[in-house]
């Protein structure tokens, strides 16, 4: 099955984030997430081309990481309840994913090792016995509904696009807030002044980078990328 192969090779954002945390042997919390934020964004940047619907997911997570990182650089930065909620949600999702990933390894160990077999097909003597539904028009209708349900090219769901677009605003906003907070607390940086300022300046550059990524997603959304199931598009709940 071609698409399965594709998704086998494809590492999702949560997986990459979890790998980064585990490589550093850290627990899942805001401190560890702030530490891996740079690596995550660098990774996303290095990916370049990948399915649009997936890049939106990456951007959503990158934005939350930026919030965490801002707060860790500038503790005086005030986060809204929504933003705090996003951070808590990301931590929860990571922990949940970690648990399932561990469980999937246990399943791999037993899968196919000790199969419980079904009995072979019983010998049959066909007796022609259609039910009432077997009419030409029902069959034709059924065929059409099967065709309508075939996987089709699908655009990035509008809800997701809107979400990514509102992120652009969020990042611009965050840039201003970080710049302001930097001015405000400049006097606090008595020690290692230069170093800290450098860190924040490069952080501002990173914000710009993610913003560019967002713009790309929004601009390119008219290119359909992968075939998706037409089942009412199950949006991840953020």
């Amino acid at each position: 099955m071609p698409f399965a192969i594709k998704h086998e090779k494809f590492n999702g954002p949560l997986e990459i984030l979890l790998n980064l945390i585990e490589e550093k042997k850290l627990f899942i919390n805001d401190i560890s997430l702030a530490k891996v934020a740079d690596d995550f964004i660098a990774y996303v940047k290095s990916l370049g081309d990948f399915p649009l619907s997936e890049s939106a997911q990456f951007i959503l997570i990158a934005s939350t990481l930026l919030l965490i990182k801002s707060k860790s650089l500038l503790p005086s930065l005030e986060l809204s309840e929504d933003e705090k909620g996003n951070i808590a949600d990301l931590e929860r999702r990571l922990a949940l994913y970690k648990m399932y990933r561990e469980q999937s390894v246990s399943l791999k160990e037993i899968f196919g090792k000790k199969i419980l077999f079904a009995r072979n097909e019983r010998k049959i003597q066909p007796v022609f016995s259609p039910d009432e539904s077997m009419t030409l028009s029902n069959i034709a209708q059924s065929m059409m509904s099967v065709i309508n349900q075939l996987p089709k090219k699908e655009f990035l769901p509008k809800v997701l696009v809107d979400k990514v677009m509102s992120l652009e605003e969020m990042i611009s906003n965050l840039t201003t807030r970080v710049a302001n907070a930097l001015k405000m607390s400049f006097k606090d940086f008595t020690k290692d002044k230069g170093e800290k300022v450098n860190v924040i300046v490069s952080f501002l550059a990173m914000l710009e980078l993610v913003k560019q990524g967002i713009i790309n997603v929004v601009q390119e959304r008219h290119f359909d990328d992968i075939l998706m199931e037409t089942e009412n598009v199950g949006l991840p709940k953020y």
């Binding site: 090779k9 009995r119 072979n120 022609f128 039910d131 077997m134 065929m143 075939l150």
Partner: protein, 191 residues
């Protein structure tokens, strides 16, 4: 696992008569030992819902005699119950395609079709032919065509349009597969 239990598993799985000689061969025991195991199993199964039937040198697992009226009802039920959405979809695909493998049907429906295919076979709506080594091919039965009142498959409603749609889907799949192969051939670049 003792011999008796092994025999039980093999006979259950087999679902048709097997010679004692062959059974002994499978279990790597002498025919005498197999006979003894069978006697033991026959004892264990007494009063149960399944039993062992012996004919000459063959042996088979069956439902117990007391269950015969129950099984008769089951057979009737199998021939009369509604075939449902799965039944209609599967017969439709086989009709419009003319013949299909299970994998074709599964692929178009997006779910596994083995149970519904078996049911359609029992109901005489489709027929099965073997096609070399690649497994079974399913075709509409003669009866279903006359039941539907068509003499040729091309008499099916929207026959041309449906064919086209199905081919388009299959082509898209193949194209996707090729793209995938190209992508997978250079995974290092992606890392």
């Amino acid at each position: 696992m003792n011999l008796e239990t092994k025999i039980e598993a093999v006979l259950f799985w087999k679902g048709e008569p097997i010679s004692v000689k062959k059974l002994a061969g499978i279990l790597k025991v002498s025919e005498k030992e197999a006979e003894n195991g069978l006697l033991g199993l026959q004892n264990s199964l007494s009063g149960r819902g399944i039993t062992i039937i012996r004919t000459n040198d063959e042996v088979e697992m069956r439902t117990a005699g007391e269950a015969s009226s129950l099984i008769e009802n089951l057979t009737k039920e199998e021939l009369t119950r509604d075939l449902g959405k799965a039944g209609l979809e599967t017969i439709a695909i086989i009709l419009y395609k003319g013949e299909a493998r299970r994998s074709d049907i599964d692929y178009v429906r997006g779910v596994n079709s083995s149970f519904i295919i078996r049911n359609l076979l029992i109901r005489g709506l489709i027929e099965r032919t073997t096609d070399g080594k690649r497994g079974f091919l399913y075709k509409p039965s003669v009866e279903i065509l006359s039941h539907l009142g068509i003499s040729r498959l091309s008499d099916l409603p929207d026959f041309g349009k449906v064919k086209e749609e199905l081919e388009k889907f299959e082509k898209a799949e193949t194209a996707a597969q090729e793209t995938m192969t190209q992508e997978n051939s250079a995974p290092e670049a992606a890392e």
